[in-house]
């Protein structure tokens, strides 16, 4: 609609309307928690000025030869010719500490002065079974799995295994399976996906549930029907879309069965297979300690935790009584 205002004014007005109000508290809390133990980078001072001298040609040639030799030896070391990678599990035991990365949000319930959540419980149990103390590294999922991520020994990203870069990371056996539920308003006549296939169906942007609707869940074409998909930023936004009629159904991202159970105005009519979640280690490289034994030890610990009921107990205590650890 042309209301006569200059385009610049209309853009500025739109941006001001679109700007959010305040940053969520957890963002500040997470940043402050990270900076508490983070040293500042002090500017380096220039070295003392050296007296200028002009070397002879012979000296220059000798120096160049020496530098070339040092460089070749250095490259050989970096390339692993003179050094076998150390064993990461041994290093962890020698240091009596394991750095375990977890994300600050789901499936953690709260991160403030006290960290709480399912992955933190599992991390503590893993450290205990490996016989070492734990250093929690709380970092968001993207940073955790990005190149140059903060140093950690194992990570619990709580994301779909098929979304993790197999070229950079290795994964343990699954320790829990996260459900995605297809929900409709309680008064809807739909009873299966085919009944709402005309859509639109709401999914949280970038979540595996969106991939499911678009046919890319688990890297395979698993969607049984052509879907009209709308995306929102959170489950709450999708529930709003459901309530307003903007969507006829929604697929949940972070809502557990217990969460859904207390929502009187929706019901579950289906959904994709639960999403397997794993513990992650860095893939072996020539310059890093070998994680093979560590990954085996993690697998053993997870099997043991499943066998003795620990995983089930932790799940039930964190997910409203639901056991998400039994396939």
């Amino acid at each position: 609609m042309n209301d006569g205002r200059p385009i610049e004014e209309r853009i500025t007005h739109w941006l001001e309307q679109e700007a959010p109000d305040d940053v969520p508290n957890f963002v500040l809390e997470s940043a402050f928690a990270r900076t508490q133990s983070l040293p500042q980078e002090r500017p380096s001072f220039a070295p003392p000025r050296l007296r200028l001298f002009v070397p002879s040609r012979r000296a220059v040639l000798l120096l160049a030869a020496a530098l070339l030799g040092v460089a070749l030896i250095g490259a050989a070391f970096v390339g692993g010719a003179f050094r076998r990678p150390t064993n990461l599990l041994n290093e962890i035991h020698q240091q009596d500490r394991i750095r375990i990365a977890v994300r600050p949000d789901h499936p953690q319930a709260a991160i403030g002065s006290i960290a709480e959540g399912f992955d933190i419980d599992v991390g503590n149990e893993l450290a205990s079974r490996l016989g070492v103390r734990i250093d929690l590294v709380i970092v968001d999922e993207q940073t955790m799995l990005a190149p140059g991520a903060p140093a950690w020994d194992v990570a619990l990203p709580s994301t779909a295994g098929w979304q993790i870069d197999a070229g950079s990371f290795q994964q343990s056996i699954s320790y829990y399976d996260w459900p995605h539920r297809l929900i409709v308003p309680a008064g809807s006549t739909a009873n299966a996906l085919r009944d709402v296939a005309g859509g639109p169906i709401c999914a949280v942007t970038g979540d595996p549930s969106e991939e499911w609707l678009r046919g890319g869940y688990g890297g395979t074409n698993s969607s049984p029907a052509a879907m009209s998909v709308i995306t929102r930023q959170t489950d709450a936004d999708c529930l709003s879309a459901l309530a307003s009629g903007d969507a006829v159904a929604a697929v949940t991202a972070w809502l557990s069965d217990a969460d859904i159970h207390v929502l009187a105005d929706v019901r579950v009519i289906g959904g994709p297979d639960a999403e397997s979640r794993t513990v992650v280690v860095h893939r072996s490289s020539a310059t890093a300690a070998d994680p093979t034994d560590l990954l085996s030890a993690v697998d053993d610990a997870l099997v043991s935790m499943r066998t003795d009921g620990t995983l089930k107990r932790l799940s039930q205590s964190r997910f409203g009584g639901a056991d998400l650890t039994t396939p």
Partner: protein
Amino acid sequence: VDRQLVERARGGDHAAFEALAIGISSRLYAIARLILRDTHLAEDAVQEALVNIWRRLPQLRDPERFDAWTYRLVVNACGDVGRGRKRMAAEVHLLTSPGSAMDSSADVADRDQLERGFRHLRPEQRVAVVLHYYVGLTANEVAEVTGEPVGTIKSRIHYATETMRAALEADERPGSAAGTPA
């Protein structure tokens, strides 16, 4: 900005840094959210920017440049998280939203069309648009924040503005289909 707070934070005072961070975080969050068009990525970007502000504060030579310097860090963080998830260019299906009772009909129409035009912009154009039109920086100041030539920034602002103007005008033509997915 409180120069004394910056000086204290630069010296390693956590309380001063937290007070500074609380003061600037809403502005940084708005910038990140506008550039990235994604709440979660914006939260990540602000967190990374705040951590980097703490780490690199001792390297800030002139505390008077603090605000512009924080814009640079949050813009860099937006680039990092955007590349991580490749969401900045993600296809988004727009629905015509009814708008709030406070919105005028012109605002609602503008919102949908400007949103559509904005999503067609490249990330570096979005940065220029947000810093220029929302933060209110001149082209010279945007160039200082992004570390790019002034001519490049002026060009980006020009083409971005024209792209958004075209999105508006496309909707204003008779027979256009409002609400078509971008």
